[in-house]
């Protein structure tokens, strides 16, 4: 096994991991703060990809098309996230777990068909701009330059979230709310507004992630299904509500994926499930989550 193969697999895994991180971070945040497991998170991610393509398509003659489409798609999704929170999500905060899960699960079905209706069944492809089309050479090893971009975005989001949670007043409130809703409410801070804000933020990141993913391969119906399961695994392994946990979990899953291609190509997903199951049995709150009585 030569070093070139190892390195390129490693980078592939890192890129995959970062992509998962972008999706899982919103999922983890929403669950950590609001205790809602958003089944539809990957579906909204996919909508982000589709929106990115639509926006890019109109501007594709311009060099900056992709770079503009990505944040725009993110913003559109933030708006959609806001609508969803206001119309649907906030009605089930006080409900039991099964009803919350069912609501977000129903959303998966609805969004799936809405995508079909809006964008049809054909695959969409975004042509990458020249800056990120070719390989970049890292100690003589060719690495897809778009992977580098994805990794950079992931790192940027990670740092951004970290700064937000650690350094801003709003972020402190969010962290406190993960810990104790009652306390935050008792301090006079409106919990509903925090929930809305967190949800919108989570969906914004998901939408942006989808847009970032769009130029990798093609955009297909049903991509969200495979991804949401992996995102769940990431959040379980890393620990709900923990930013560091989500990052670590994402990288672990990404690397498992990348390396299992080398010696057990059929088994990548199975391996991820097995690891997830082990964590759930041995340490249900994940590597970095807060221990609790289960």
């Amino acid at each position: 096994m030569d070093i070139t193969l190892l390195m390129s697999q490693c980078m592939s895994g890192l890129s995959q991991g970062m992509m998962l991180f972008l999706i899982a971070s919103g999922l983890s945040l929403i669950f950590g703060v609001m205790n809602i497991l958003n089944f539809a998170h990957a579906s909204l991610w996919l909508v982000g990809a589709y929106f990115c393509h639509s926006i890019w398509f109109r501007m594709q003659d311009y060099g900056f098309a992709l770079w503009l489409s990505i944040p725009l798609a993110g913003l559109v999704l933030a708006g959609i996230g806001w609508l969803i929170e206001v119309i649907l999500i906030r009605r089930v905060y006080k409900r039991e777990l099964p009803e919350q899960l069912l609501l977000t699960y129903a959303m998966v079905l609805i969004i799936g068909d809405v995508i079909k209706i809006s964008w049809g069944v054909e695959d969409r492809i975004i042509v990458r701009p020249p800056e990120v089309s070719g390989p970049v050479f890292f100690f003589g090893i060719p690495i897809d330059s778009y992977f580098i971009f994805v990794i950079l975005v992931g790192v940027a989001v990670a740092i951004g979230l970290w700064l937000f949670l650690q350094k801003t007043k709003y972020g402190h409130i969010v962290r406190a709310a993960v810990f104790s809703r009652e306390m935050v409410s008792a301090l006079g801070i409106p919990i509903p507004r925090i929930y809305t804000g967190v949800f919108v933020l989570g969906i914004f990141i998901a939408g942006t992630a989808g847009a970032v993913q769009a130029p990798v391969g093609s955009i297909t119906l049903g991509m969200d299904m495979a991804v949401i399961i992996q995102a769940f695994c990431v959040v379980v392994i890393g620990g709900f509500g923990s930013l560091l946990g989500t990052l670590v979990g994402s990288i672990i899953v990404g690397e498992i994926y990348a390396f299992s291609i080398l010696f057990w190509p059929q088994g990548a997903l199975a391996l991820i499930f097995i690891v997830t199951a082990i964590i759930l049995v041995v340490r249900p709150w994940g590597l970095f989550g807060t221990p609790m009585r289960v």
């Binding site: 497991l37 649907l88 009605r91 089930v92 006080k94 409900r95 039991e96 777990l97 099964p98 009803e99 899960l101 069912l102 609501l103 699960y105 129903a106 959303m107 998966v108 079905l109 609805i110 799936g112 068909d113 809405v114 079909k116 209706i117 399961i229 769940f232 695994c233 379980v236 059929q266 088994g267 997903l269 199975a270 499930f273 097995i274 997830t276 199951a277 759930l280 049995v281 249900p284 289960v294």
Partner: protein, 315 residues
């Protein structure tokens, strides 16, 4: 008394159904029965024990594959396949359940889903054994049951027997212990019950009946595919139970009637069934949280007695 009369009436109706409706709708009726059985087995874990299993389709699928493969590859008669399917599904549930019952709430839900996906994955990828994504074709019912009507009566008979057994279990001390675990697992430990062990037993029983439902599906559909085990299919009994109401024993069956009917109807003129059922579920969750049975209990019979939480459960 009134309840039994009502049930008797429904059953009599079911017995003479083929005289009144065409073959297509008898087909639908068989589907209602099989999926209803699946949903009732799910409710043993959900409504009675209070846990949400998002991987119940795994046992349905295992049951389907045991019967399917035995019939296609070894020409084992259906009558023997059925109990074997139950045993196969039960063993699966035993292994998976052993780990799942250590958790509750959302962790239980996710772990059951993860295991469900693992089973799906195994069946999907193990091409040499299960023919993977191609599925298993040519599962032919025995000549006696070859017509739709015959298979309908067969399914009706098996489903009724299974329902009676599950009914007795739900009204037994074991069934009440399940309710106790649902309502206050801690307390139940303190009256001397090994909660984990009991949860596992219930999980296995529920899995066995799901396996039975799956076994009935193969010869009916003539073919089976790994899709039967994935998490989407696991959602079906959840939907049915929620629509019908997790309240009473027959809630999931009522849900199956509504769901299957709706699906047969809607898929007749549009491909957007997921959109439809998604909207229905949202509607039920937001506005009719107790399902049909809940609606009936509260509006027509008047409140039985106020319950402390907003959610009603099986009394």
């Amino acid at each position: 008394m009134k309840k039994y009369l009502f049930l008797g009436l429904i059953y009599a109706l079911a017995l003479v159904l083929p005289l009144f409706i065409g073959e297509f709708w008898i087909h639908v009726a068989v589907e209602i029965l099989i999926l209803g059985l699946f949903a009732v087995s799910f409710n043993m874990i959900f409504g009675y024990m209070g846990q949400l299993s998002f991987g119940h389709a795994a046992y349905y699928g295992v049951g389907a594959y045991v019967t399917g493969m035995l019939m296609v590859k070894a020409s084992v008669p259906l009558a023997i396949c059925l109990p074997l399917s139950m045993i196969g599904a039960g063993i699966c549930a035993l292994i998976i359940g052993y780990f799942c019952v250590r958790l509750t709430g959302i962790y239980f839900a996710i772990l059951t889903m993860a295991f469900g996906q693992l089973i799906y994955y195994i069946i999907f990828k193990w091409y040499s054994f299960t023919r993977g994504d191609d599925g298993l074709q040519g599962i032919i019912a025995p000549p006696l049951l070859f017509t739709v009507n015959a298979y309908y009566y067969f399914t009706l008979f098996i489903a009724t027997a299974a329902l009676i057994v599950m009914w007795y279990i739900s009204e037994s001390p074991f069934g009440y212990t399940m309710r106790a675990i649902r309502d206050n697992a801690d307390r139940t430990r303190f009256i001397g019950i090994n909660v984990r062990k009991y949860m596992l037993i219930n999980f296995v029983i529920a899995g066995m009946f799901a396996g039975l439902a799956g076994a009935l599906w193969g010869p009916f559909n003539r073919s089976i595919a790994p899709d039967l085990t994935n998490w989407h299919h696991s959602g079906t009994p959840v939907f049915m139970t929620v629509i019908g109401g997790p309240f009473g024993f027959f809630g999931p069956m009522i849900g199956s009637v509504i769901y299957t009917f709706l699906m047969a109807f809607v898929t007749g003129f549009t491909e957007y069934w997921p959109l439809t059922i998604g909207l229905v579920i949202i509607f039920v969750v937001l506005f009719v949280p107790g399902g049909v049975l809940g609606f009936y209990e509260s509006k027509i019979k008047g409140f039985r007695s106020k319950v402390p939480k907003s959610e009603e459960t099986i009394p």
